[in-house]
Amino acid sequence: MADRIECDVAIIGGGPAGQAAALALSGHGLSIVVIDEQPRPGGQILRQPPARFAVRGWLEERSYRPLKQLLGRFQALDDIHWLGSHSVIGLQRGSVMAMGPEGVTTVTARHILIAAGCHDLAVPLPGWTLPGVYAAGGIQAFIKGQQLLVGNRILVAGTHPLQLIIAAQIVAAGGSVAAVLFAQPRSAMVAALARHPLAALRRVPDLLATAAALRALARAGTPIHFGTSLEALIGTDRVSAAQTSAGTINCDAVGLCYGFVPQSALPRMAGAQMRPSGPAGGWACGHDDFMRTSVPGVSAAGETTGVAGAAAAAAGGALAGIGIALDLGLISLEAAEHAARTPRRDLAQHRAFAALLDAVADPRAYFPAPSADTIICRCEDVEQATIAAELPVCQSANAVKLATRCGMGACQGRNCEPSLLRMMAKAGNVPETGFTPRFPARPVSIADLLPPQ
């Protein structure tokens, strides 16, 4: 069933960026629609349990406090049209198509803000398509949203320090972590930290959160290994062990944590200028100093503009809201510049810390090696060797897609594109773009796109 909503501002994403933008725009008499895939606001960082769940001690760690305050202020707004449980599948200048439980809604808006967040980098290695192998962020989402543990003995492995927090959350939820493996040596992480001591000091709460996670893991007796890389995941109908550079580790679930990439499908679909994101790969949406993209009437904030964490997202969202208020003629340039000072300063500071984190977590030297028969594109079951055979004759990601079906499936290449671009770069070809973005960003039922019969 197809439906229509007209509004002044459509905000895609109910995480910190979308919340902050809505708060900046609220009170001006605008009609504002906030669209999110989750039923309730919060984003991935504060993924809320269903309203009828009572969860004791939900995300009690101190580092979540400012975000919970922001969420509380957002939820108290009475001039926002919350369109939860809706996935945006299409975006053009002035219009957003969102798919929900009742079908597709087309939202037309004078201004659109893309605050769509990021997702885990998919990392192919032998055995990674076995049941029980997750993106670490997925394991965390199960815990935050449903208090569910994905296994009895979970191995967490990668290069990103966030895996310490996720391991501690598994333990706090009553689970058992087989081990936390960092592929890089501890010395590499310390050296990266030491290169940017000021940025590190400004973000003491985050460092303290990591320290608290380390203490919790120590109390639980969870081994943490540095310089230990994953080589293969083993199992028949489910993962049962991991082969690592330090031997075999038994487990019944694995969380891979090599970094995060921006949700880039929507700005790319709208034709916005993108730039390569951090060392994990992917594409970040470019913007000006009021978070406007290169497409008139479309702004971007949060992880879509580069993975820099929830605090940066909130600052960017506030700034985008001020920019939209300026563009809609609600405030003067002078007032906008004045209001923008604090969020701009915050954004710069948080991004400096994100750059430090990028350096600490840089996965590029530590990616596991897929074997010839490792599947790179899971939607279309395209193996490493099939892609490798085309690299000498294909200059673009699109050409590889056409030749091999890599990226042609339901996820639109969201998962395999970074792997493919890494393979191309290794073969000496660094493409300036990835796959051409296509509608719909999520698979959508044809019945939902049509008026009723």
Binding site: A2, G90, Q92, S95, M97, T106, G271, V393, C394, Q395, S396, N398, A399, L402, A403, R405, M408, G409, A410, Q412, T436, P437, R438, F439, P440, P443, V444, S445, I446, A447, L449, L450, P451, Q453
Partner: protein, 391 residues
Amino acid sequence: MERADVAIIGGGLVGCATAWRLARKGASVVLIEAGDINAGASGQNAGSLHFQIERRFLENGDALAEQGAQIVALSRHAVIDWRTIERELETDLHVAMHGGLMVAETAEQVALLEAKAARESREGLTVRTLDGDEARAMAPYLSSGILAANFSADEGHADPRAITPALAEAARGEGAQVRTGTHVRAITRENGRFVIRGNGLALSADQLLVAAGAWSADVCALINIHMPIYPVALLMNATERAPPIIPHLVQHVGRRLSLKQTHAGNLLIGGGWPSRLAQTLHGGFDLSAKAQMIPESLTGNLLAARDVVPGVTRLNLIRSWTGVTAITSDQLPIVGPVPRMPGLWVAAGGSAFTLGLTFARLMADAMTGDEADELSLLSPARFEHLNGFMG
């Protein structure tokens, strides 16, 4: 400077097939492609092998319908070319010629079908006219709203991802040079030969074939020739994979619809619904930028699909894309030598998936001195008046 008998600009189906045919006849061939092989309409179209007269020829009066009917003579060649190509190339190209249905939903459309079938039989193409129940007996997936259908036993589909790369490989195997990532910047005539320059390219050739799809008019402009070829951006849609249910090519006589199921199981839904071409800053179309989907095209195309094959509503749409193809000012492709400029050949203007192998075979014959009368209908000579002050 390099020398060749023939230079071909455009690494699509026609360019690669012609390179292969010519090289096999012993000609030295250099094929020049700006991007990757198969990156344009050859790889982006939905792979229909359609031999019945197209709806677009039927909806604009008798004269055009008559012209559209003449192309049937070439279709008869194309049936044979497609039935033999997998054997010739010794490759599985997912050619599936299990027949095609062109359906009607209204009495008016039924009359159109009958007139079409009469025209086709005059041109030697056999189609059967089925009533609704007969059509559903053959194709149980069809809606109860289908009143009649024309069935052509030879229609079907092939894999656009597979055919052109296979032809390029075959061309290389016969000694043709294939240069990708090579932009042609200038074409001049020197001592009766064509001199083609681009990045890393300086080539002198006896003959030049322009087979650059929607870009062909721009390539011809490099040599000061007008070619009335216009870009067209068409929407296509793919569903998730489904178990085999539709062996046929399904088209509509009165609505824009083509529908088929690929060897992988995806349903491809298209039929000529427009997308919006990007514009340059100075006006005019920018073929290098992504065309924009028109929401009404998506809905219109899926509605036509639902009305003909109701089962599509149970599937997920996973991808909509736009391919840029070309149309000429009289809708017929332009294929053959340009009288104004001896040695210059053009093959562009649409229909080049179904008919491309045939265009290539006949052109390769003609370029090496054999007769190829079948192409006279499509000759660029019909636009010679545009080039009276050119060349």
